[in-house]
């Protein structure tokens, strides 16, 4: 048998049907559902007289729209249209018998944080969700990607997706990371290297010593942004850290089933000599604390760099960079560390887990947020929030002057009231710096949690290594 990549193995294990023209039906093990991209899919099912094929493999949680303020139990904190979407999810989850974590449940949170936390996401699975950041779950060695609403309906009705196989790409991060450099800096640096379309048509497998050294939470951060590089999915082969993370989670297997699962999971690695269509290698020690300067995630540089000029680029990117700089209000040649900010946002499916909060707290302990700056921390789930309170992190944040919020997507996409005002500039631990992403004419600089905390103290983009 010819050697296989990890992606090949998961693909082969989920192939339910293959037509003569190569069109495949891929079986889906876990379908995660949120309130924004699902109402039309459920409506479509009803109109066609269809039902949910595997409600037991379908998990629903509202996250995009929900307010994160402490008074959110009061329905008036939500706009009418947001309330309608959340109520639609509530109704659909109950009517079709899905696993459901409503806003009032302490386990509620961002779908990509809840899935792993509850043990729904396990190695070797196929996981989809009507959300591009489904790539997050690839950290477990599961094939996980975002889908559109029509595909949500397709998975609800059939538990499969019509797919053609992607190509294999290997991204190796060798060696050790330097102090102050995190999983976020790895994933942003990879996009800086490949561009936002560099991964289009590929499934990426991240490997190498720097990846193996990451915790499961760090690996989730890396895979989360695979989509920003255009990849269908990002994968990391499971290992002892993965098993340890999964063990004992509410929906992880137990007893003899656990033993059988681990035995299977140990087969999930890329065979020696397997073929990759594209290989990218970065040295871990070359990666610096990074920050985006433009309006595409590929517009990333080390914090020690300067704002580039359109003339540094070629082709269609020249015009795009000029547009970015105009939008961001930046001048070529200015030091990134001189850029003053108004807002700091720590949270999102990229960086809203407990280790992210610990990293921010380590910088913020005993410090104060710069006068006049708005700073908020939005934990990724109710359980992350509870743990941060138990560990005393919440007190550090509140003492420093951060708002300490309830769980949700919040200012990552600003669908709820957490938004930037026109012209406001934010150091954000989220994943997209697109025009208007965090609010109309808002300006986003993507950073790691430690960098965001450092920026909150100084009031400008700051090299976290100066504060550590």
């Amino acid at each position: 048998m010819s050697p296989k990549t990890l992606y090949d193995k998961i693909w082969d294990a989920h192939l339910a049907h293959e037509a003569e023209d190569g069109t495949c039906l891929l079986y889906i093990d876990r379908h995660l559902v949120h309130e924004v991209t699902s109402p039309q899919a459920f409506e479509g099912l009803r109109m066609a007289g269809r039902t949910v094929h595997a409600p037991d493999k379908t998990i629903a949680v509202p996250d995009h729209n929900v307010p994160t303020t402490l008074d959110r139990a009061n329905a008036k904190t939500m706009t009418e249209d947001s309330r309608v979407q959340v109520e639609a999810l509530d109704k659909n989850a109950k009517e079709f018998g899905l696993h459901y974590y409503p806003v009032s449940d302490v386990r509620q949170g961002i779908v990509h944080i809840v899935g792993p936390e509850q043990g729904w996401t396990l190695p070797g699975m196929t996981v989809v969700c009507g959300d591009s950041h489904t790539a997050t779950h690839g950290a477990f060695g599961s094939l996980a990607h975002g889908i559109g609403t029509s595909e949500v309906e397709h998975v609800l009705a059939t538990q499969t997706l019509i797919q053609k196989k992607s190509k294999n790409m290997k991204v190796e991060i060798t060696g050790k990371l330097k102090p102050g450099v995190t999983a976020k800096d790895i994933t942003m640096s990879v996009i800086g290297e490949t561009g936002t379309a560099g991964g289009t048509g590929y499934v990426i497998e991240y490997c190498g010593e720097a990846i193996r050294d990451l915790s499961m939470e760090g690996r989730m951060t890396v895979c989360n942004m695979a989509i920003e590089g255009g990849a269908r999915a990002g994968l990391i082969a499971p290992d002892e850290k993965t098993y340890e993370y999964c063990m004992g989670r509410p929906h992880a297997p137990k007893g003899a089933e656990w033993e059988a699962a681990v035995t299977y999971w140990k087969t999930l690695f890329t065979d020696e000599g397997a073929h990759f269509d594209k290989v990218i290698t970065l040295k871990g020690e070359d990666i610096a604390p990074s920050v985006t300067w433009g309006t595409s995630p590929e517009d990333v540089l080390p914090i020690t760099a300067k704002v580039p000029s359109p003339s540094d680029f070629k082709g269609g990117k020249v015009e795009a960079v000029q547009r970015s700089l105009d939008y961001m209000g930046l001048t070529p040649g200015m030091a990134l560390s001189d850029i003053e900010i108004d807002t700091v946002f720590i949270g999102s499916c990229t960086n809203g887990r407990i280790e992210d909060l610990r990293a921010a707290a380590a910088i913020l302990k005993g410090k104060k947020v710069k006068d006049g700056l708005r700073a908020m921390i939005v934990p990724g789930s109710g359980l992350v929030r509870a743990q941060a309170e138990e560990e005393g992190l919440a007190d550090i944040f509140k003492d420093a002057g951060f708002e300490w919020r309830l769980a949700g997507c919040s200012m990552c996409l600003a669908m709820n009231p957490d938004q930037l005002a026109e012209g406001e500039r934010c150091a954000s631990t989220s994943n997209r710096n697109f025009e208007g992403r965090q609010g109309y004419k808002g300006r986003t600089h993507l950073v790691s949690p430690g960098m965001a905390a450092a920026a909150a103290i100084s009031g400008k983009l700051t090299d976290v290594r100066e504060i550590m």
Partner: protein, 201 residues
């Protein structure tokens, strides 16, 4: 789903690269539980000021492009969020075909589910079509999905590739859920086998 066979219409030029789905339909319009009506907000923040007035120099506000049915754009069109609201808004506006050197994966798939044809052509050919589109309303491009060709207003013909299954579904307006449900026996057989091998899933 609406069929797509041929189309002759006005093409609007948008040479920008990395046009993301947040640009195509900003998040404030995702709070709908319907698929229809989003065309009014297509490219909302590029098309209107905060008071809702049209921004005159945005391409779809120019008189010659208001009835555009084709969009010619830069590479990596539709990147970012998976929101199918993006193709819904494009279709609702009246655009049935996008031509670009490359697309983000999820957006590309979403188009085919909504009767929109996303055509991939090399940058040099897109450059030619962009120039043709810049001529305005009198220059109409033609697309023939069966023949897999784009014809400029000057009669220059470019051939494009498209997946045969996607083409078949689009040309016949097929509901692919219905097609998959015909294979339910395969799915059930898979479930029985996988359930025995991996009972913890």
């Amino acid at each position: 789903m609406d069929k797509f066979e041929t189309l002759t219409g006005i093409a609007a030029p948008m040479p920008l690269v990395n046009i993301d789905t947040d640009m195509i339909i900003p998040k404030q319009f995702l709070k709908t539980i319907k698929r229809s009506g989003l065309g009014a907000n297509l490219f909302d923040e590029m098309r209107f000021d905060r008071q809702g007035n049209e921004i005159a120099d945005f391409v779809l506000n120019k008189p010659q492009y208001r009835e555009a049915e084709i969009l010619v754009a830069g590479e990596n069109f539709g990147c970012g969020s998976s929101r199918e609201h993006a193709p819904w808004a494009i279709k609702d506006f009246g655009i049935r075909c996008v031509i670009a050197p490359s697309y983000a994966d999820i957006f590309y798939n979403n188009c085919f589910k909504n009767g929109i044809l996303p055509i991939v052509l090399p940058q040099e050919q897109v450059d030619v079509l962009m120039k043709d589109a810049e001529k305005g309303a009198n220059a109409r491009m033609s697309i023939d999905l069966e023949a897999q060709t784009v014809t400029t207003s000057d009669g220059e013909v470019f051939s494009f590739e498209v997946d045969s299954f996607k083409k078949h579904c689009l040309m016949n307006g097929l509901d692919d859920i219905g097609l998959t449900l015909e294979k339910v026996a395969s799915v059930k057989a898979f479930e029985a086998k996988a359930g025995a091998e991996r009972p913890w899933v």
